[in-house]
Amino acid sequence: MTGEQIVFLVVAFVTLFAGLMVVTTRNLVHAALWLVAALFGVAVTYVILHANFLAVVQVVVYIGAIAILFIFAVMLTRRDMRDQGPQMNKNWWFGAVLAVLTFGGLYFLLQGWEGMTKTATSYPVGFDAISELGNALVSPAGYVLPFEVASVLLVAALVGAVYVAFNPRNGNSGK
């Protein structure tokens, strides 16, 4: 077992544990903080995969923006900061069964696929994945159209979120 494998296993187990805590913790702020831990684990996984740009973007976007947004939303949607009542709906066992079945099914499907045991070719020395990625994102032969559509989607989401969450009664008349 190499060092990389040990690191991967540790990160994977920490991430999965954090993920389990996200879906089972009663306290929602804790759930959001566990989500941060899980997302950080995913970022480390990207580093192991040599996808440095994705790792940093993961930290910036998910931990810096999305997780903070979640924490804000949790705090804004509770009159007092405690949790009342059950956190699971009454069909939670059905969800659990379905989740286990999904994992089993995916595992079974993947076992039958011949590319499953593939090992990576060694990472090319001096390969600049970031400029390659940048070129791919903006070149017409690459992915400029999906990239532009994604930015339009973001603007639409921004406008939509402001519109939906805007409260005309005590909105920013400001005077």
Partner: protein, 102 residues
């Protein structure tokens, strides 16, 4: 080296955990948390396929970046909806948001 299968099984497990969260939590914000886990597991797969395929083909990373954008948009709109519902109904429990039932 880590074999590809480890990444895929890891991602599958994370996906299942996220799905459990989506299916079983009552709080709408917690359901969104589960969706985030599912999106992340997909991203792990995309990055792993990029690394284990030809690293000069950037499709995996590009797709992962688009997923980031979609996740950000989804969270922004989703949480705005949750806050809006909370304002009018004083609840974020998904079972109790049932105005469209009748």
């Amino acid at each position: 080296m880590v074999p590809l299968s480890w990444y895929l099984i890891f991602a599958a497990a994370l996906f299942s955990i996220g799905m459990f969260g989506v299916l079983s939590r009552r709080n709408a914000v917690a359901i969104l948390l589960g969706i985030e886990l599912m999106l992340n597991s997909v991203n792990i797969n995309l990055a792993a396929f990029w690394r284990y395929g030809d690293v000069h083909l950037m499709a995996g990373q590009v797709f992962a970046i688009i997923v980031f954008a979609v996740a950000a948009a989804e969270v922004a709109v989703g949480l705005a909806l949750v806050i809006s519902v909370y304002r009018s109904r004083r609840t974020v429990v998904a079972d109790e948001i049932d105005m469209m039932k009748w």
